[in-house]
Amino acid sequence: MIYARGLVKRFGEFTAVDGIDLDVAPGEAFGFLGPNGAGKSSTMRMIGCVSTPSGGELRILGKDPVRDGPAIRARLGVCPQTDNLDPDLHVFENLTTYARYFGIPRAEARRRATELLEFVQLTEKATSMVEPLSGGMKRRLSIARAMVNEPDLVLLDEPTTGLDPQARHLVWERLFRLKQRGVTLVLTTHYMDEAEQLCDRLVVMDGGKIVAEGSPRHLIDTYSTREVVELRFGDEAPSSYVDKLAGIGERLDPLPDRLLLYSADGDAAVSELHRRGFTPSSVLVRRSTLEDVFLILTGRTLVD
């Protein structure tokens, strides 16, 4: 579905995407993770054939995005990072008008709009204007709009940012159903749980480069340990403990408010800690998550 080699995007002097390779197979759910400014959206816009690559090779659905832009876009569904719904039209018309951009006949457009509003549970808002909708409803409408041409490949740039937990679960469930129908999904996200839930495979981007690639499980196994111990100390800055705790676990990461201790066996690490006479004010042993992988790879926590 997507094939990229050495893909580059420059804005003037600045290189936003710095030579990335991608392969996305039909039916796959593929994710981009990365801190702010990593180049996720820039990559998505190149895949969506709205931004011209500055270098490298890119093929979408086997076609060249520069030459066959309209033909490719006809088969894509795009939900951009910032909503661009039409504020002069109400919810239902937003879908039908957009369908007309794809040359879908009016009657068919109305049928699909009805179905899609049902799908994202906005049926009772059909005649509401866009502006009074909540952020989550707008997002769901954007997602519905991306489906209006029954695309083969759906691009979602941060589909659930700003949504409440219920709305997020709804969106996940809907995206999961799309995947079951065989639609290829490509999404960016800042939420590790989202990536774990939805993506078969993902890449972590940082500074325009891909720093890791694989399934969520694979990434955790490769880059993190099985368990993580979160330690808080009441008195001093966590960084001051890094030296003192050396030798316990496989890796130590001081955050401003806590210290992360990576270890295959969290409980053993905690006993060792106590044996050495440390008394953290709080101790939490948990399984390692993608968030930890992210932290290890980019040296940063996730920021929204």
Partner: protein, 240 residues
């Protein structure tokens, strides 16, 4: 491809009701004092000009804020960009919408003018076309301009230094020959002047100051250049 079905009622109201009120008040009120120009009563003289300047102003106002807004605020062009719609379709779609607006306004305006006895020639049937051409020649390049800017404060400059002088000095209210010779070329450069003279000739039956083909040709040239510029500007804006 019909891209835009928008809020009609409000805008249609202002785009012809205001000029109509204008004609009624100026034509009847001031007309008594000014007497005749080129052998016509003042009302008949200015009606074709007001008609053309109405088209000109609709063209300007519809190709400024709405265009910038569709790039910057609502991002509707970006939405359309993600579909098979081509950039040239977006440019033409919006121009088509402006044409509809102008055509509807011109026709209503002509009917009202006829009632007031300001129509004197069968060529009047051509005036909606003239207005359409005038609107295209103006709106195409102004849309292009709107696509290149980031900030709407340029519009107040455009209105102040282009729209208002053009409206006042393009032969709408008095013949351009009364302007000092140094500024006359500015009027000749203004699409509005060509539109006004064509429209006046069509409504009153007289000859145009220059051969009509020159007036029409100039407007077509401006339209073509404007569309090309708009296509370039839209492409550039939407490229990244």
């Amino acid at each position: 491809m019909v891209l835009y079905r928008r809020l009609w009622q409000a805008s249609v109201f202002s785009s012809f009701v205001l000029p109509v009120l204008f004609v009624v008040s100026i034509g009847i009120g001031v007309g008594g004092y000014v007497g005749e120009i080129d052998g016509w009563d003042y009302l008949s003289y200015i009606v074709p000009g007001i008609l053309a300047s109405g088209a000109f102003q609709t063209a300007l106002s519809e190709s400024t804020f709405p265009v910038l807004g569709a790039f910057k605020w609502t991002r509707s062009y970006h939405a359309a960009r993600a579909t098979p719609v081509r950039i040239i379709d977006m440019v033409l779609g919006w121009q088509l919408y402006i044409q509809f607006r102008v055509a509807a306004a011109s026709i209503v305006f002509l009917l009202v003018s006829a009632v007031f006895g300001a129509v004197h020639s069968p060529w009047v049937v051509l005036t909606p076309l003239i207005c359409g051409l005038l609107a295209l020649s103006t709106a195409a390049s102004v849309s292009a301009f709107s696509a290149t800017i980031e900030n709407d404060s340029y519009f107040s400059l455009l209105f102040r230094f282009v729209m208002i002088p053009a409206t006042l000095f393009s032969g709408v209210f008095f013949p351009v020959e009364q302007l000092p010779a140094v500024v006359r070329p500015l009027a000749y450069a203004s699409p509005l002047w060509h539109g006004v003279e064509l429209s006046r000739s069509a409504m009153l039956g007289g000859a145009t100051p220059w051969p009509w083909a020159v007036h029409v040709g100039y407007l077509i040239l401006l339209s073509a250049l404007g569309l090309w510029w708009a296509w370039r500007a839209y492409s550039k804006r939407l490229r990244d």
